[in-house]
Symmetry: C2
Subunit: 338 residues, 2 copies
Amino acid sequence: TFSQKNHKVVLFPGHGIGPEISQAVCDIFSATKVPIDWEHHEIYTKPINEAGDLIKEESLNAVINYKWGLKGPFATPIGKGYRSLNVTMRKKLNLFANVRPCKSLAGVKTPYSNVDLVTIRENTEGEYSGLEHAVVPGVVENLKIISQPACENIARYAFEFARKNNRKKVVACHKAGVMKKGDGLFINTCKKISSEYPDIEYTQEQIDTVCMKLSKNPEVFDVMVMPNLYGDIVSDLCAGLIGGLGLTASGNISHTCAVYEAVHGTAPDIAGQNKANPTALLLSGVMMLKAMGLQKEGIAIEDAVTKTLSEGKFLTGDLGGKASTTDYTKAVIGHINL
Amino acid sequence: TFSQKNHKVVLFPGHGIGPEISQAVCDIFSATKVPIDWEHHEIYTKPINEAGDLIKEESLNAVINYKWGLKGPFATPIGKGYRSLNVTMRKKLNLFANVRPCKSLAGVKTPYSNVDLVTIRENTEGEYSGLEHAVVPGVVENLKIISQPACENIARYAFEFARKNNRKKVVACHKAGVMKKGDGLFINTCKKISSEYPDIEYTQEQIDTVCMKLSKNPEVFDVMVMPNLYGDIVSDLCAGLIGGLGLTASGNISHTCAVYEAVHGTAPDIAGQNKANPTALLLSGVMMLKAMGLQKEGIAIEDAVTKTLSEGKFLTGDLGGKASTTDYTKAVIGHINL
Ligand SMILES: CC(C)[C@H](C(=O)O)[C@@H](O)C(=O)O
Ligand SMILES: CC(C)[C@H](C(=O)O)[C@@H](O)C(=O)O
């Protein structure tokens, strides 16, 4: 409209099924009249420079300028000489918080029906430092880094998230009995910051126990905050509980910009065949809309997804249905209620 | 009997419910006429020397001499100045392999009824090196160590285990996309050794994907081999799938000795009340019997446990029953069929 300026969003369609599911998201967003202009950027399948980057500097700058990015799945190059795209992006944009909600979806049958968990993962350090070397041939040292500022950032983010989203509990997951200094610093920092949030119940639990409880009775947890590697593992475990990565949203957040992404793979076996399920990317987009303040549009799309899935008429192959990507997309659009 | 020399086994009853469940195991073993002599050794609740040890040198030597140890749960001291008992034991005795089978138990209802997994965990290095320091205040570096010899040991152990136990598949779990050198060394070594076992199907899978699949459809895996920390997490996840740590056996294996253990806690709230479930320690003992070559006795006890649990008349509180530890113990003994 005349008076309202559209948000600009950097879209990385990615590879494999990436372009199809990105198209589905764009179509659903258009039908919902979301005030967004997309700017397409490429992820490369081969390193584009000596440093091994898979993305252009100008694409990262576009995310910084526009504040928003949405990213499909991408193919990791085979062999050596490249830098992990996700790790690079998270570090260069200081996307320090990775937020992955997992909530049971009506219409998707799993053994657990009351899952409602949010993994909040420190996204920049831990084992992901990229610092490793062979001390002598056959002995590799990898540096796991835990720093106070990163712990403070992620702890505060977790409590703020809990408060904003009306959640009651935050559990800090760790292995401080073994990594007394590193994971010790993490939980001590979380504990310190928890005192500023008396309205949120705070506990600490060992990461192995957390995973045992998640597979036994996942309803005991609410918001879970943890160092990088644990978050990688726990968020996938939680995704499994609600039906897999094809259904889960993810957001990588900095203080000034954010990149939302589908965490699943490129599914080369079905790419280009109009069979892929766009839900993960779509719900990641919904997370973005809510962060932009576009609650109405975000909720409308979320509700339409829930209706489409629980109706069960237009399910894609991964959910046991026979619908095409475009059938599913149309069904979601048909349920949009503004 | 006159002609047969009994095996000597070092028993660490431990703390909390440890003594009660150890007694249950001794009673069931006696009733099964297992040719074992127990030698009780203590785990301390406070450090006994400057190094912070919780166990006497002579106890470790006893394990080395007799070859066999069985260990109940123990209380970790509060505060600083102690060394983790498990980590110390594993390192000092070079208990390089941690074996944790998880098989659905008839009579214990869980979301999945066909779980039959074995986690084989490298038990001496990775993040458990104990090497950590603050580089500057507020920045901690922890060294994750991966060495070729340890990878070879654990890989070979996994394939030998698969072969001996008639299992068809081994999956190596890793995060080599991020820890290219360290986890890279791990999978490259596993792959190399897999070529000596053409009868076993070998695959590699990222640890996050493994956990997603385990919570979604755990029947896709069989034997899983992995570095230390992943094994800590995955074995607990698997335990959750079959009903929790109160039911799962664990063995720590070196080339010359082994310590079997219940991995659950000391349950101080019910300690001394004849309410604890001795199954985890008992099944750990059964693993030991089988390793000793006492198949007949081991299988007899295992079958008696299965019958007792599936009958459901004498279940302890953790399984929703009202039986005491001694009721359950008697029920198991009643089902022993030699
Ligand atoms: C691709 C990989 C580097 C990444 C990670 O480990 O963070 C992925 O698994 C994820 O969870 O986003
Ligand atoms: C007590 C702790 C050091 C130990 C570990 O992490 O190995 C425990 O969790 C286990 O799994 O045996």
